[in-house]
């Protein structure tokens, strides 16, 4: 038995509905608890007393919407987060990827690019970067812009270096960046074959056939219906026996696609597509 919706739940539903109708960003199938926290955080910063007053501002002021969007999306990520994931890619996925003359890789929900640069470094060290095309997609233009620039905070480099080493890195991590613009500027050659693009997992469709999709800690913000939609997109995009990597606590067990991907490295959430 669940409770009837509280006032704030009603207001939150109206807010995301308004955002969808007005700006065509679809947050209607995001999980409620996390979204509520982020809207409350936006209300504090944007000095709105109620969700309704925030909605009114966002409706009439696109700049206010741009500000709210930074709260609605979750740009929290790090390079080589969960190093074991990258190590498993090197050991268990790369041997298959090597058999293709050219590769298409999709980093879905790439946020500010940390995963993209990590993936590019891995592919480079495995001799695959030159034959790869990487699609890095997100709904947040500001995050994409930041990803394109490839400047990461210098104070994160110690953690990233540790992660990189645990992830099976073959060189000195500092080979990949130089101190510039008050941060660590990553080697531009890493992203020569990267297409950064605005793509919504909620509303857009498949744009390419891919060999490997990495989508980490994105679907945890989606309800089951949207998770199913996204897994459907990935299944459709992946080539025969293509690879899918998810976040370390993400599961497809509760989805209608549970039988359509088989685990390759269960612990690291690496799967292979089954069926057509």
């Amino acid at each position: 038995m669940t409770k009837p919706p509280s006032d704030i739940d009603i207001e939150l539903r109206m807010l995301v509905e308004a955002v969808y109708l007005k700006y065509n960003y679809d947050f209607r199938d995001y999980t409620g608890a996390s979204q509520k926290r982020r809207v409350l955080a936006a209300m504090r910063v944007m000095e709105c007393e109620t969700v309704s007053s925030l909605q009114s501002r966002v409706m009439h002021d696109p700049a206010a919407f741009a500000q709210l969007l930074q709260f609605l999306t979750i740009p929290v990520t790090e390079m080589f987060r969960d190093p074991e994931y990258y190590l498993a890619i090197r050991r268990q996925v790369v041997p298959f990827l090597e058999t293709y003359p050219s590769l298409k890789i999709w980093v879905a929900g790439c946020s500010t690019g940390e995963e993209v640069y990590s993936m590019a470094i891995l592919l480079k060290e495995e001799g695959l970067l030159e034959r790869s095309l990487i699609y890095a997609t997100d709904i947040n233009q500001e995050s994409l812009e930041s990803a394109r620039r490839g400047v990461m905070p210098l104070d994160r480099m110690r953690l990233y270096t540790e992660n990189y080493q645990k992830a099976g890195g073959k060189r000195a991590f500092s080979d990949y960046y130089t101190a510039a613009y008050g941060g660590a500027l990553f080697d531009r050659s890493l992203v020569e074959n990267v297409t950064f693009a605005d793509h919504s997992l909620s509303t857009d469709s498949v744009f390419a056939e891919t060999h490997f999709i990495s989508c980490r800690n994105v679907m945890i913000y989606f309800n089951r219906r949207l998770q199913n939609r996204v897994l459907g997109l990935f299944h459709e995009s992946l080539c025969h026996r293509g690879f899918l990597g998810l976040g370390s606590k993400e599961s497809i067990d509760f989805s209608s696609y549970a039988q359509r991907f088989e685990p390759l490295v269960r612990r690291e959430r690496l799967f292979r597509k089954v069926g057509a």
Binding site: D9, K36, R37, R38, S248, D253
Partner: protein, 208 residues
């Protein structure tokens, strides 16, 4: 039962009068593992409520808490998984590195938002979302700890009509967290662990 214990029992029962409990959330930090080792074995076999446990954990390590307690308790104990439907009679632990929330439809969700009070998982996040989902059907229990996490969560539980219980700071391994919660939420009960032990079986609806 001594007269004193009987009186304590009566007091605990009185605080439950008219409540229909649907879930229990227990948070702690420094000293929390020891406190839970004392507390959780008070849960009887066939307990009819879900129990959510959250302790502060180092972010980079897998949590072994669920395994540890699964061996000691007569009911299923597991780490709460994203989108899992909450089952009665099960003890759930928040895993390392992610916030754990309860959704309105009474499933769990995980998220990677920034740490709250330097903690991820944060007690506030789990308690606030649980309060939103269960309202006056929730019991919040806050144990020993060295930071202020849990204060907002307990306040939200109280505001939503739930029952709030804080470990007696005098006996807590670290009193900071109980003291902050007492300041923030004016809890219904401030109890030593042995009384919280006695309270847990009383929360079941079949006995109250």
């Amino acid at each position: 039962m001594s007269a004193r214990a009987a009186a304590d029992h009566g007091r605990l029962r009185a605080s439950l009068q008219g409540r229909r409990i649907e879930a229990v959330v227990i948070g702690g930090s420094a000293g929390g593992v020891d406190a839970l080792i004392q507390l959780l074995p008070a849960l009887p076999a066939g307990y009819d409520l879900p129990v959510f446990c959250i302790l502060h954990l180092p972010p980079d390590r897998e949590s072994r808490l669920a395994e540890l307690f699964d061996e000691r308790l007569p009911m299923p104990v597991r780490e709460a998984a994203d989108k899992e439907v909450i089952a009665p009679g099960t003890v759930y632990f928040a895993g390392a590195g992610y916030h754990l929330s309860v959704e309105q439809d009474r499933t769990f969700s995980l998220s990677c938002e920034p740490p709250v009070h330097y903690a991820r998982p944060a007690i506030d996040v789990l308690m606030e979302s649980s309060a939103d989902a269960y309202g006056d059907g929730l019991v919040g229990i806050l144990l020993t700890g060295a930071n202020h996490d849990g204060g907002d969560g307990m306040a939200r539980i109280r505001a939503c009509g739930g029952l709030t219980v804080v470990q007696d700071p005098d006996e807590a391994q670290v009193a900071v967290m109980p003291l902050e919660a007492i300041r923030r939420c004016n809890p219904h009960l401030v109890l030593p662990l042995k009384d919280i032990q006695a309270l847990l079986p009383m929360l079941e609806n079949k006995t109250s």
